[in-house]
Amino acid sequence: MEVRVDRDRCAGSGLCVSYAPEVFDQSEDDGKVLLKEPLPGTGAAGAVRAMAARCPTGAITVHGHGHAHGHGHGEPAAPREPSEAV
Protein backbone atom coordinates (compact mmCIF):
# COMPACT_ATOMS: atom_id res chain seq x y z
CA MET A 1 0.00 0.00 0.00
CA GLU A 2 1.27 3.44 -0.91
CA VAL A 3 -0.12 6.57 0.77
CA ARG A 4 -0.07 9.98 -0.89
CA VAL A 5 -1.06 13.32 0.59
CA ASP A 6 -2.01 16.49 -1.22
CA ARG A 7 -0.86 19.34 1.01
CA ASP A 8 -2.60 21.92 -1.19
CA ARG A 9 -5.98 20.34 -0.38
CA CYS A 10 -5.32 19.72 3.33
CA ALA A 11 -7.42 21.87 5.70
CA GLY A 12 -5.48 20.84 8.81
CA SER A 13 -8.26 19.01 10.66
CA GLY A 14 -5.65 16.80 12.31
CA LEU A 15 -7.86 13.68 12.16
CA CYS A 16 -5.19 11.59 10.46
CA VAL A 17 -2.57 12.62 13.02
CA SER A 18 -4.88 11.63 15.87
CA TYR A 19 -5.81 8.21 14.50
CA ALA A 20 -2.70 7.10 12.59
CA PRO A 21 0.22 8.97 14.17
CA GLU A 22 2.70 6.38 12.90
CA VAL A 23 1.87 7.35 9.31
CA PHE A 24 0.87 11.02 9.49
CA ASP A 25 2.14 14.13 11.23
CA GLN A 26 1.00 17.74 11.28
CA SER A 27 3.40 20.56 10.48
CA GLU A 28 4.09 23.11 13.21
CA ASP A 29 4.58 25.75 10.51
CA ASP A 30 1.39 25.54 8.48
CA GLY A 31 -0.73 23.01 10.36
CA LYS A 32 -0.99 20.78 7.30
CA VAL A 33 -0.41 17.06 6.94
CA LEU A 34 3.10 15.60 6.76
CA LEU A 35 3.61 12.05 5.52
CA LYS A 36 5.89 10.13 7.87
CA GLU A 37 5.46 6.74 6.28
CA PRO A 38 4.44 6.57 2.62
CA LEU A 39 4.60 2.74 2.62
CA PRO A 40 2.89 1.66 5.86
CA GLY A 41 2.82 -2.03 6.80
CA THR A 42 -0.30 -4.15 6.64
CA GLY A 43 -0.93 -3.50 10.34
CA ALA A 44 -1.69 0.15 9.63
CA ALA A 45 -3.60 -0.46 6.39
CA GLY A 46 -7.08 -0.37 7.94
CA ALA A 47 -6.45 2.86 9.84
CA VAL A 48 -4.92 4.52 6.79
CA ARG A 49 -7.81 3.55 4.51
CA ALA A 50 -10.28 4.84 7.10
CA MET A 51 -8.36 8.14 7.22
CA ALA A 52 -8.44 8.43 3.44
CA ALA A 53 -12.23 8.11 3.63
CA ARG A 54 -12.66 10.45 6.59
CA CYS A 55 -10.29 13.23 5.50
CA PRO A 56 -12.54 16.30 5.13
CA THR A 57 -10.81 17.54 2.01
CA GLY A 58 -9.90 14.25 0.31
CA ALA A 59 -6.22 15.10 0.77
CA ILE A 60 -5.22 11.50 1.53
CA THR A 61 -5.23 8.80 -1.13
CA VAL A 62 -4.25 5.16 -0.97
CA HIS A 63 -2.74 3.37 -3.94
CA GLY A 64 -1.84 -0.22 -4.72
CA HIS A 65 -3.20 -3.67 -3.76
CA GLY A 66 -5.91 -3.32 -6.35
CA HIS A 67 -7.94 -0.86 -4.27
CA ALA A 68 -9.28 2.36 -5.62
CA HIS A 69 -8.74 5.71 -3.89
CA GLY A 70 -9.86 6.38 -0.38
CA HIS A 71 -11.89 3.31 0.52
CA GLY A 72 -12.55 2.48 4.13
CA HIS A 73 -14.24 -0.62 5.48
CA GLY A 74 -17.21 -0.60 3.20
CA GLU A 75 -17.53 3.11 3.81
CA PRO A 76 -18.24 5.51 1.00
CA ALA A 77 -15.16 6.55 -0.88
CA ALA A 78 -14.22 10.16 -0.42
CA PRO A 79 -15.39 11.61 -3.72
CA ARG A 80 -12.84 13.67 -5.55
CA GLU A 81 -14.30 17.11 -5.61
CA PRO A 82 -13.42 19.45 -8.44
CA SER A 83 -9.95 20.50 -7.55
CA GLU A 84 -9.13 23.91 -6.21
CA ALA A 85 -5.83 24.30 -4.46
CA VAL A 86 -6.34 26.17 -1.20
Binding site: A11, G12, V17, S27, E28, R54, E75, A78, V86
Partner: protein, 402 residues
Protein backbone atom coordinates in the same frame (compact mmCIF):
# COMPACT_ATOMS: atom_id res chain seq x y z
CA UNK B 1 -45.39 39.45 16.11
CA UNK B 2 -43.25 38.53 19.08
CA UNK B 3 -40.03 36.68 18.43
CA UNK B 4 -41.17 33.39 19.91
CA UNK B 5 -44.19 33.35 17.67
CA UNK B 6 -42.07 33.34 14.52
CA UNK B 7 -42.09 29.99 12.77
CA UNK B 8 -39.08 27.76 13.34
CA UNK B 9 -37.19 27.52 10.04
CA UNK B 10 -37.74 24.17 8.35
CA UNK B 11 -34.09 23.08 8.31
CA UNK B 12 -33.75 23.55 12.09
CA UNK B 13 -36.80 21.48 13.05
CA UNK B 14 -36.21 18.32 15.03
CA UNK B 15 -38.10 15.57 16.78
CA UNK B 16 -36.07 14.93 19.94
CA UNK B 17 -32.82 13.38 18.63
CA UNK B 18 -34.06 13.06 15.07
CA UNK B 19 -34.56 15.44 12.16
CA UNK B 20 -38.22 16.50 11.98
CA UNK B 21 -40.68 14.35 10.04
CA UNK B 22 -41.27 17.11 7.48
CA UNK B 23 -37.54 17.12 6.66
CA UNK B 24 -37.59 13.36 6.16
CA UNK B 25 -40.65 13.60 3.91
CA UNK B 26 -38.88 16.25 1.88
CA UNK B 27 -35.75 14.17 1.46
CA UNK B 28 -37.90 11.23 0.35
CA UNK B 29 -38.66 13.36 -2.73
CA UNK B 30 -34.96 13.64 -3.54
CA UNK B 31 -31.61 14.80 -2.18
CA UNK B 32 -32.13 18.39 -3.38
CA UNK B 33 -35.49 20.18 -3.09
CA UNK B 34 -36.79 23.69 -3.66
CA UNK B 35 -38.39 24.93 -0.45
CA UNK B 36 -39.32 27.91 1.61
CA UNK B 37 -37.59 27.62 4.99
CA UNK B 38 -39.88 29.95 6.90
CA UNK B 39 -42.97 30.85 4.90
CA UNK B 40 -43.92 34.46 5.44
CA UNK B 41 -43.32 37.90 4.04
CA UNK B 42 -39.87 38.37 2.59
CA UNK B 43 -39.02 34.68 2.51
CA UNK B 44 -37.63 33.46 -0.79
CA UNK B 45 -37.52 29.82 -1.86
CA UNK B 46 -34.10 28.18 -1.92
CA UNK B 47 -32.53 24.78 -2.38
CA UNK B 48 -32.36 22.46 0.60
CA UNK B 49 -29.70 19.77 0.22
CA UNK B 50 -30.39 16.68 2.35
CA UNK B 51 -28.39 13.89 0.64
CA UNK B 52 -24.98 12.98 2.08
CA UNK B 53 -23.17 12.84 -1.25
CA UNK B 54 -24.81 16.05 -2.47
CA UNK B 55 -23.91 17.90 0.75
CA UNK B 56 -20.30 16.82 0.32
CA UNK B 57 -20.42 17.88 -3.30
CA UNK B 58 -21.60 21.39 -2.39
CA UNK B 59 -19.30 21.89 0.60
CA UNK B 60 -16.34 20.46 -1.30
CA UNK B 61 -16.68 22.72 -4.34
CA UNK B 62 -15.95 26.28 -3.29
CA UNK B 63 -15.34 27.30 -6.90
CA UNK B 64 -18.99 26.75 -7.82
CA UNK B 65 -20.65 27.17 -4.41
CA UNK B 66 -19.54 30.41 -2.83
CA UNK B 67 -20.00 31.60 0.75
CA UNK B 68 -18.69 35.11 0.08
CA UNK B 69 -20.74 35.88 -3.01
CA UNK B 70 -23.65 37.34 -1.08
CA UNK B 71 -21.41 40.24 -0.10
CA UNK B 72 -21.06 41.33 -3.72
CA UNK B 73 -20.35 39.58 -7.00
CA UNK B 74 -16.72 40.59 -7.36
CA UNK B 75 -15.87 41.94 -3.94
CA UNK B 76 -12.49 41.05 -2.58
CA UNK B 77 -13.13 39.95 0.99
CA UNK B 78 -11.28 41.20 4.04
CA UNK B 79 -10.62 44.63 5.38
CA UNK B 80 -10.43 46.26 2.01
CA UNK B 81 -13.91 46.00 0.59
CA UNK B 82 -16.86 48.26 0.55
CA UNK B 83 -19.61 45.65 0.78
CA UNK B 84 -18.84 43.40 3.70
CA UNK B 85 -20.37 44.84 6.87
CA UNK B 86 -17.89 45.76 9.58
CA UNK B 87 -19.08 43.04 11.93
CA UNK B 88 -18.63 40.44 9.19
CA UNK B 89 -14.92 41.08 8.73
CA UNK B 90 -12.79 38.13 9.82
CA UNK B 91 -15.67 35.63 9.83
CA UNK B 92 -13.82 33.01 7.84
CA UNK B 93 -16.80 30.98 6.71
CA UNK B 94 -18.07 33.96 4.70
CA UNK B 95 -14.90 34.21 2.62
CA UNK B 96 -13.99 32.59 -0.69
CA UNK B 97 -10.47 31.90 -1.94
CA UNK B 98 -8.09 33.59 -2.35
CA UNK B 99 -8.96 35.76 0.71
CA UNK B 100 -10.13 32.70 2.62
CA UNK B 101 -6.84 30.99 1.83
CA UNK B 102 -4.85 33.98 3.08
CA UNK B 103 -6.61 34.04 6.47
CA UNK B 104 -6.99 30.30 6.96
CA UNK B 105 -3.30 29.67 6.20
CA UNK B 106 -2.31 31.85 9.15
CA UNK B 107 -4.89 30.34 11.51
CA UNK B 108 -4.54 26.61 10.78
CA UNK B 109 -1.20 26.23 12.63
CA UNK B 110 -2.87 27.63 15.79
CA UNK B 111 -5.35 24.74 15.86
CA UNK B 112 -3.17 21.69 15.31
CA UNK B 113 -3.73 18.61 17.42
CA UNK B 114 -0.39 19.27 19.13
CA UNK B 115 -1.26 22.89 19.92
CA UNK B 116 -4.65 21.88 21.27
CA UNK B 117 -3.08 19.22 23.50
CA UNK B 118 -1.20 22.02 25.24
CA UNK B 119 -4.59 23.32 26.34
CA UNK B 120 -5.62 19.93 27.70
CA UNK B 121 -4.54 20.48 31.35
CA UNK B 122 -6.34 23.83 31.42
CA UNK B 123 -9.52 22.32 29.98
CA UNK B 124 -9.37 19.46 32.47
CA UNK B 125 -9.04 21.97 35.30
CA UNK B 126 -12.00 24.01 34.03
CA UNK B 127 -14.16 20.89 33.72
CA UNK B 128 -13.15 19.82 37.24
CA UNK B 129 -14.20 23.24 38.57
CA UNK B 130 -17.61 22.88 36.95
CA UNK B 131 -18.10 19.38 38.36
CA UNK B 132 -17.03 20.59 41.83
CA UNK B 133 -19.67 23.32 41.67
CA UNK B 134 -22.28 20.82 40.55
CA UNK B 135 -21.37 18.38 43.31
CA UNK B 136 -21.55 21.14 45.91
CA UNK B 137 -24.95 22.26 44.61
CA UNK B 138 -26.19 18.72 45.12
CA UNK B 139 -28.94 16.87 43.28
CA UNK B 140 -31.15 17.66 41.54
CA UNK B 141 -28.99 19.99 39.43
CA UNK B 142 -29.37 21.45 35.97
CA UNK B 143 -26.67 19.82 33.85
CA UNK B 144 -27.04 22.54 31.22
CA UNK B 145 -26.46 25.45 33.58
CA UNK B 146 -23.65 23.85 35.58
CA UNK B 147 -21.94 21.73 32.93
CA UNK B 148 -22.96 22.02 29.26
CA UNK B 149 -23.16 25.82 29.18
CA UNK B 150 -20.54 26.41 31.85
CA UNK B 151 -17.61 24.76 30.06
CA UNK B 152 -17.35 26.21 26.52
CA UNK B 153 -17.09 29.90 27.47
CA UNK B 154 -14.12 29.62 29.85
CA UNK B 155 -12.38 27.24 27.41
CA UNK B 156 -12.69 29.84 24.64
CA UNK B 157 -11.47 32.57 27.01
CA UNK B 158 -8.49 30.37 27.78
CA UNK B 159 -7.82 29.96 24.06
CA UNK B 160 -8.26 33.60 23.09
CA UNK B 161 -6.49 34.92 26.19
CA UNK B 162 -9.27 36.73 28.05
CA UNK B 163 -7.94 37.27 31.59
CA UNK B 164 -9.76 35.43 34.37
CA UNK B 165 -11.10 38.58 36.03
CA UNK B 166 -12.69 39.77 32.77
CA UNK B 167 -14.39 36.50 31.87
CA UNK B 168 -17.70 36.99 33.62
CA UNK B 169 -18.41 40.33 31.94
CA UNK B 170 -16.96 39.20 28.64
CA UNK B 171 -19.12 36.09 28.43
CA UNK B 172 -22.26 37.94 29.53
CA UNK B 173 -21.77 40.49 26.75
CA UNK B 174 -20.92 37.75 24.31
CA UNK B 175 -24.09 35.78 25.10
CA UNK B 176 -26.16 38.95 24.84
CA UNK B 177 -24.50 39.81 21.52
CA UNK B 178 -24.84 36.38 19.93
CA UNK B 179 -28.01 35.33 21.72
CA UNK B 180 -31.08 34.94 19.58
CA UNK B 181 -33.64 35.38 22.32
CA UNK B 182 -33.28 39.14 22.62
CA UNK B 183 -34.42 42.23 20.80
CA UNK B 184 -32.24 43.86 18.20
CA UNK B 185 -31.61 46.99 20.27
CA UNK B 186 -30.40 45.05 23.28
CA UNK B 187 -28.20 42.89 21.05
CA UNK B 188 -26.65 45.91 19.39
CA UNK B 189 -25.79 47.53 22.72
CA UNK B 190 -24.25 44.33 24.08
CA UNK B 191 -22.53 43.81 20.74
CA UNK B 192 -20.77 47.13 20.81
CA UNK B 193 -19.51 46.53 24.37
CA UNK B 194 -18.39 43.05 23.32
CA UNK B 195 -16.56 44.15 20.18
CA UNK B 196 -15.02 47.14 22.03
CA UNK B 197 -13.57 44.72 24.57
CA UNK B 198 -12.16 42.52 21.80
CA UNK B 199 -10.69 45.55 20.02
CA UNK B 200 -8.91 46.53 23.25
CA UNK B 201 -7.65 42.96 23.69
CA UNK B 202 -6.25 43.02 20.15
CA UNK B 203 -4.60 46.40 20.79
CA UNK B 204 -2.95 45.09 23.98
CA UNK B 205 -1.63 42.02 22.16
CA UNK B 206 -0.30 44.17 19.33
CA UNK B 207 1.68 46.17 21.86
CA UNK B 208 2.83 43.34 24.07
CA UNK B 209 2.11 39.92 22.53
CA UNK B 210 1.97 36.93 24.89
CA UNK B 211 2.30 33.24 23.97
CA UNK B 212 -1.42 32.61 23.60
CA UNK B 213 -3.45 32.45 20.43
CA UNK B 214 -3.72 36.20 19.67
CA UNK B 215 -0.17 36.93 20.78
CA UNK B 216 1.21 34.21 18.50
CA UNK B 217 -0.85 35.43 15.55
CA UNK B 218 0.35 38.98 16.08
CA UNK B 219 3.98 37.95 16.48
CA UNK B 220 4.03 35.65 13.46
CA UNK B 221 1.74 37.60 11.11
CA UNK B 222 1.16 41.01 12.70
CA UNK B 223 1.17 43.19 9.58
CA UNK B 224 -0.82 40.65 7.55
CA UNK B 225 -3.96 41.02 9.70
CA UNK B 226 -6.03 44.14 10.13
CA UNK B 227 -7.30 44.84 13.65
CA UNK B 228 -10.83 44.25 12.44
CA UNK B 229 -9.85 40.87 11.06
CA UNK B 230 -8.29 39.84 14.37
CA UNK B 231 -11.34 41.04 16.25
CA UNK B 232 -13.62 39.19 13.83
CA UNK B 233 -11.63 35.98 14.22
CA UNK B 234 -12.24 36.13 17.98
CA UNK B 235 -15.97 36.65 17.35
CA UNK B 236 -15.89 33.68 14.99
CA UNK B 237 -14.34 31.45 17.65
CA UNK B 238 -17.05 32.43 20.12
CA UNK B 239 -19.78 31.92 17.51
CA UNK B 240 -18.47 28.50 16.62
CA UNK B 241 -17.44 27.31 20.06
CA UNK B 242 -20.28 28.24 22.42
CA UNK B 243 -23.61 26.88 21.19
CA UNK B 244 -22.16 23.95 19.30
CA UNK B 245 -20.25 22.65 22.32
CA UNK B 246 -22.98 23.39 24.87
CA UNK B 247 -25.45 21.67 22.52
CA UNK B 248 -23.24 18.61 22.16
CA UNK B 249 -22.58 18.38 25.91
CA UNK B 250 -26.22 18.67 26.98
CA UNK B 251 -27.79 16.64 24.21
CA UNK B 252 -24.99 14.05 24.32
CA UNK B 253 -25.49 13.56 28.05
CA UNK B 254 -29.22 13.09 27.49
CA UNK B 255 -28.64 10.59 24.67
CA UNK B 256 -26.35 8.54 26.91
CA UNK B 257 -28.74 8.74 29.88
CA UNK B 258 -31.55 7.41 27.69
CA UNK B 259 -29.29 4.56 26.53
CA UNK B 260 -27.84 3.14 29.76
CA UNK B 261 -26.09 0.29 27.98
CA UNK B 262 -24.17 2.73 25.81
CA UNK B 263 -23.47 4.99 28.75
CA UNK B 264 -21.95 2.01 30.57
CA UNK B 265 -19.66 1.30 27.60
CA UNK B 266 -18.06 4.75 27.69
CA UNK B 267 -18.12 5.08 31.47
CA UNK B 268 -16.29 1.82 32.03
CA UNK B 269 -13.80 2.06 29.17
CA UNK B 270 -12.16 5.45 28.60
CA UNK B 271 -10.64 4.03 25.40
CA UNK B 272 -14.15 3.81 23.96
CA UNK B 273 -14.70 7.57 24.25
CA UNK B 274 -13.08 8.65 20.96
CA UNK B 275 -15.48 6.51 18.97
CA UNK B 276 -18.40 7.56 21.12
CA UNK B 277 -17.64 11.24 20.47
CA UNK B 278 -17.62 10.62 16.70
CA UNK B 279 -20.91 8.75 16.84
CA UNK B 280 -22.52 11.44 19.02
CA UNK B 281 -21.28 14.12 16.61
CA UNK B 282 -22.91 12.23 13.74
CA UNK B 283 -26.10 11.13 15.49
CA UNK B 284 -26.86 14.46 17.18
CA UNK B 285 -25.60 16.75 14.39
CA UNK B 286 -26.18 19.84 16.52
CA UNK B 287 -25.26 22.43 13.84
CA UNK B 288 -28.34 22.64 11.63
CA UNK B 289 -26.54 23.90 8.56
CA UNK B 290 -23.26 25.51 7.56
CA UNK B 291 -23.14 28.94 5.92
CA UNK B 292 -25.54 29.07 2.96
CA UNK B 293 -23.88 28.70 -0.44
CA UNK B 294 -24.57 30.73 -3.56
CA UNK B 295 -24.25 28.99 -6.93
CA UNK B 296 -21.64 30.83 -8.97
CA UNK B 297 -22.81 29.28 -12.26
CA UNK B 298 -25.64 27.03 -13.43
CA UNK B 299 -25.00 23.57 -12.03
CA UNK B 300 -26.89 20.29 -11.87
CA UNK B 301 -27.02 18.79 -8.39
CA UNK B 302 -28.98 15.72 -7.36
CA UNK B 303 -30.85 15.88 -10.68
CA UNK B 304 -31.94 19.50 -10.19
CA UNK B 305 -30.76 22.50 -12.18
CA UNK B 306 -29.45 25.15 -9.79
CA UNK B 307 -29.24 28.55 -11.45
CA UNK B 308 -26.34 30.96 -10.90
CA UNK B 309 -27.14 33.22 -7.96
CA UNK B 310 -29.51 30.79 -6.25
CA UNK B 311 -28.99 29.86 -2.60
CA UNK B 312 -28.36 26.38 -1.19
CA UNK B 313 -28.71 25.31 2.45
CA UNK B 314 -27.13 21.98 3.42
CA UNK B 315 -28.84 19.99 6.17
CA UNK B 316 -26.22 18.48 8.47
CA UNK B 317 -28.64 16.26 10.44
CA UNK B 318 -30.17 14.85 7.26
CA UNK B 319 -26.80 14.21 5.60
CA UNK B 320 -25.52 12.43 8.71
CA UNK B 321 -28.63 10.20 8.79
CA UNK B 322 -28.33 9.23 5.11
CA UNK B 323 -28.08 5.44 4.58
CA UNK B 324 -25.48 6.31 1.92
CA UNK B 325 -23.19 7.26 4.82
CA UNK B 326 -23.96 4.54 7.32
CA UNK B 327 -26.16 1.48 7.86
CA UNK B 328 -29.01 1.96 10.34
CA UNK B 329 -28.40 5.71 10.50
CA UNK B 330 -31.10 6.33 13.11
CA UNK B 331 -29.54 3.99 15.66
CA UNK B 332 -27.08 5.45 18.18
CA UNK B 333 -24.20 3.01 18.56
CA UNK B 334 -21.16 4.40 20.34
CA UNK B 335 -19.09 1.36 19.39
CA UNK B 336 -19.37 1.96 15.64
CA UNK B 337 -16.34 2.34 13.41
CA UNK B 338 -16.22 6.13 12.80
CA UNK B 339 -17.53 7.28 9.43
CA UNK B 340 -16.83 10.45 7.41
CA UNK B 341 -19.74 12.41 8.91
CA UNK B 342 -20.16 16.08 8.10
CA UNK B 343 -20.84 17.45 11.60
CA UNK B 344 -17.75 19.67 11.22
CA UNK B 345 -18.57 20.44 7.60
CA UNK B 346 -16.46 19.38 4.68
CA UNK B 347 -13.93 20.96 2.34
CA UNK B 348 -12.03 24.21 2.81
CA UNK B 349 -14.43 25.55 5.45
CA UNK B 350 -14.16 22.37 7.58
CA UNK B 351 -14.28 23.48 11.23
CA UNK B 352 -11.01 25.11 12.21
CA UNK B 353 -11.55 24.08 15.83
CA UNK B 354 -12.44 20.42 15.19
CA UNK B 355 -9.43 19.13 17.15
CA UNK B 356 -10.30 21.41 20.08
CA UNK B 357 -13.97 20.39 19.97
CA UNK B 358 -13.16 16.67 19.92
CA UNK B 359 -10.76 17.03 22.83
CA UNK B 360 -13.15 19.21 24.84
CA UNK B 361 -16.05 16.79 24.36
CA UNK B 362 -13.90 13.78 25.24
CA UNK B 363 -12.55 15.42 28.40
CA UNK B 364 -15.95 16.68 29.53
CA UNK B 365 -18.00 13.49 28.94
CA UNK B 366 -15.27 11.35 30.50
CA UNK B 367 -14.98 13.52 33.61
CA UNK B 368 -18.76 13.75 34.02
CA UNK B 369 -19.26 9.99 33.99
CA UNK B 370 -16.25 9.41 36.22
CA UNK B 371 -17.47 11.91 38.81
CA UNK B 372 -21.09 10.75 38.74
CA UNK B 373 -21.12 7.09 37.68
CA UNK B 374 -24.77 6.79 38.78
CA UNK B 375 -25.91 9.91 36.91
CA UNK B 376 -29.60 9.81 36.04
CA UNK B 377 -32.36 12.05 34.73
CA UNK B 378 -34.30 13.78 37.49
CA UNK B 379 -37.28 14.46 35.25
CA UNK B 380 -39.39 12.28 32.95
CA UNK B 381 -37.62 12.06 29.58
CA UNK B 382 -40.69 13.45 27.80
CA UNK B 383 -40.48 16.65 29.89
CA UNK B 384 -37.00 17.59 28.64
CA UNK B 385 -37.15 20.94 26.85
CA UNK B 386 -35.08 21.07 23.68
CA UNK B 387 -33.26 24.20 22.53
CA UNK B 388 -34.65 25.03 19.12
CA UNK B 389 -33.97 28.74 18.62
CA UNK B 390 -30.22 28.64 18.33
CA UNK B 391 -27.66 28.08 15.59
CA UNK B 392 -27.00 24.70 17.21
CA UNK B 393 -29.51 22.24 18.61
CA UNK B 394 -29.41 21.30 22.26
CA UNK B 395 -31.42 21.08 25.46
CA UNK B 396 -32.59 24.11 27.45
CA UNK B 397 -32.41 22.40 30.84
CA UNK B 398 -31.45 18.93 31.98
CA UNK B 399 -32.32 18.14 35.60
CA UNK B 400 -30.10 15.30 36.80
CA UNK B 401 -29.39 13.48 40.04
CA UNK B 402 -26.65 11.05 41.11
Amino acid sequence: MSYDAEPIPLHTRRARFDPAGELRRLSAQGPVTRVSLAPGPGDRPLWLVTGYQEVRQVLGDQARFSTGRRFGPRTPAGGHDGHRPDDGIGLLMDYDPPEHTRLRRMLTPEFTVRRMRRLQPRIEALVTECLDTMERAGPPADLVELFASAIPGPVLCELIGVPRDDRGDFLRRCHAHLGTGRGRQERTAAGSAFTRYLAALVARQRKDPDHGFLGTLVRDHGPEFTDKELRGICVLLMLAGLDNISGMLGLGALALLENPGQLAVVRDDPEAMDRAVEELLRYLSVPHAPTPRTAVEDVTLGGKLIRAGETLVCSIPMANRDPALIAEPDRLDVTREPVPHVAFGHGIHHCLGAALARMELRIAYTALLRRFPALRLATPAEDVVFRVRSTAYGVERLPVAW
